[in-house]
Symmetry: C2
Subunit: 302 residues, 2 copies
């Protein structure tokens, strides 16, 4: 899995930070999460082939998370994309986008599907062989949800030496992969599983949590994820402003990470008042040491 | 007068060129012409105080000229702009923007006025003491117009030595400024005008011509302007494609400049196929030597 940060500003972008957007590469699939203005430029600068993006997940319909959509769709159409694209978003955002698409992307070159999100409880959005995606309802000024992306457990690999030693058939291999015991046809004894298979690595997972007030109700939903992105708009001295605007502080993001026992935390969505983010990172690290404050272009493989 | 280029790509932006947008500073007024995606970032990077922009002039409603509007308006409102902003554009664009503004810029902090453009003949948009602005209808795939901006002729300055020598009154000064002759009260003879006034410098003018097929009908409208910006999407070897998509070649832009006897030509709106623009510039210079191919961040004072 790989996450690339396209933008990490909050509502008002700065000269060094674009609005929200991240690209997740998971088991060969490319997903875009949020799409602030300039997303198409950032994708280009970071050499991400945006024609390969299969789905766009929009947390909520504030401008800094969606103003890049129409430009991206328009460019995809100008470049003659033909593969289907799915956008998961609020039904009202679809209602806002449809007339723009009709007006600006005449004869759009690809199929565009909108899937409406719900915000009252978690909703499974995808459950295919390789990937599982669900929503995590958040608490912000408007309907908002985060997303949990999880690789599906991969089949174990059958060891080639075992195939030769026991003369395994296709039926045997499928049975072993499905977890059934295997009995040596010569001796009738069960063969130790470790002799037969190499287990696939543990599936990785990524939770994207933005925008939200400090909201410990999500902890069970994101427990143990490999990587958590949590918004950290302010530092703790502005916790009242954070609560009023329904955002989180850096410390609160780290507290969530700690309670959820995640493997690593990255923070973003920084207020434009912070030209440097070292202090935000340091504050979070007091609660959760393995925290990194991201920047535009930040990339992590995990 | 000063022009700053925010973006000079055509429909599909590149990693080094943003979509269309220019800022004109004229007699203390700040005008934005076209507003492609990322305009607010470019304004910020180029240290242009976008809260000072008084008017936005939109040539036509293609995405690469307008996708930055909603983000810019939203940021202006978030930063609590209070002065009125006027947008000159197609009525259909207003119709597209109004619901977005209502949805994304709740309680917008400033007065926003839309002025509908017409495309069948030139239309005077502003005629105030310092500035005169009118449209120049163009020929593109949809309703499109360019804009002519002209400083108004400034009053001459009365020489202070003349004020003392002849004991000029306020009434005398107004009369002289208005071009009337002045008679020496002692001798009764007309005083030579050059002894009384220093004439103001010739008013400067700027014409912005994008997007359009080669269209010599505009020549009379832009005759003798101090600076002409003309789109040059393609080079001459693609003149058929230019005609088909209703754009101009670099050579055609220069031919217009030559016929109109403008003082200087800048070209932009380059197709993404050109990573370098030297050849476009060279082609134009064959027709009109004083041509410059612009780049994002290009600035010219004239």
């Amino acid at each position: 899995m790989e996450v690339t940060v396209l933008g990490c500003s909050s509502a008002t972008p700065t000269s060094s930070r674009c609005p929200s957007g991240q690209v997740l590469s998971i088991s060969g699939h490319l997903y875009l999460i949020d799409c602030g203005e300039g997303t198409q430029f950032q994708l280009r600068k970071l050499h991400i082939n945006f024609m390969r993006i299969e789905c766009i997940f929009i947390t909520h319909s504030h401008g800094d998370h969606v103003f890049g959509l129409i430009g991206l769709l328009s460019t995809m159409s100008l470049l003659n994309r033909t593969t289907k694209l799915t956008i998961f978003c609020h039904p009202k955002l679809e209602e806002m986008l449809r007339p723009q698409i009709a007006f600006f992307c005449e004869n759009i070159s690809f199929e565009l599907e909108f899937v409406s999100l719900r915000y009252d409880r978690p909703q499974v959005l995808q459950e295919v062989k390789t990937v599982y995606v669900k929503t995590i309802p958040l608490r912000h000024r408007i309907d908002t949800c985060g997303f949990l992306f999880r690789e599906q457990k991969k089949d174990p690999n059958i060891k080639s030496e075992a195939i030769f030693k026991y003369g395994l058939t296709i039926a045997d291999i499928v049975s072993i992969k499905n977890g059934h015991p295997y009995y040596d046809t010569m001796t009738g004894e069960e063969v130790d599983r470790t002799e037969l298979v190499r287990e696939a690595p543990e599936p990785k997972s990524f939770a994207y949590i933005s925008d939200t007030i400090y909201y410990p109700a999500i902890v069970d939903e994101i427990r143990g994820v490999s990587l958590l992105y949590h918004e950290a708009t302010f530092m703790s001295d502005l916790s009242e402003l954070a609560a009023k605007t329904m955002h989180s502080t850096s410390r609160q993001a780290a507290q969530i990470a700690k309670m959820a026992e995640v493997k690593k935390l990255i923070i973003g969505h920084f207020s434009s008042r912070y030209s440097e983010t070292d202090a935000l990172e340091a504050e979070a690290q007091e609660e959760f040491p393995d925290t990194t404050a991201v920047y535009d272009g930040f990339r992590i493989v995990f």
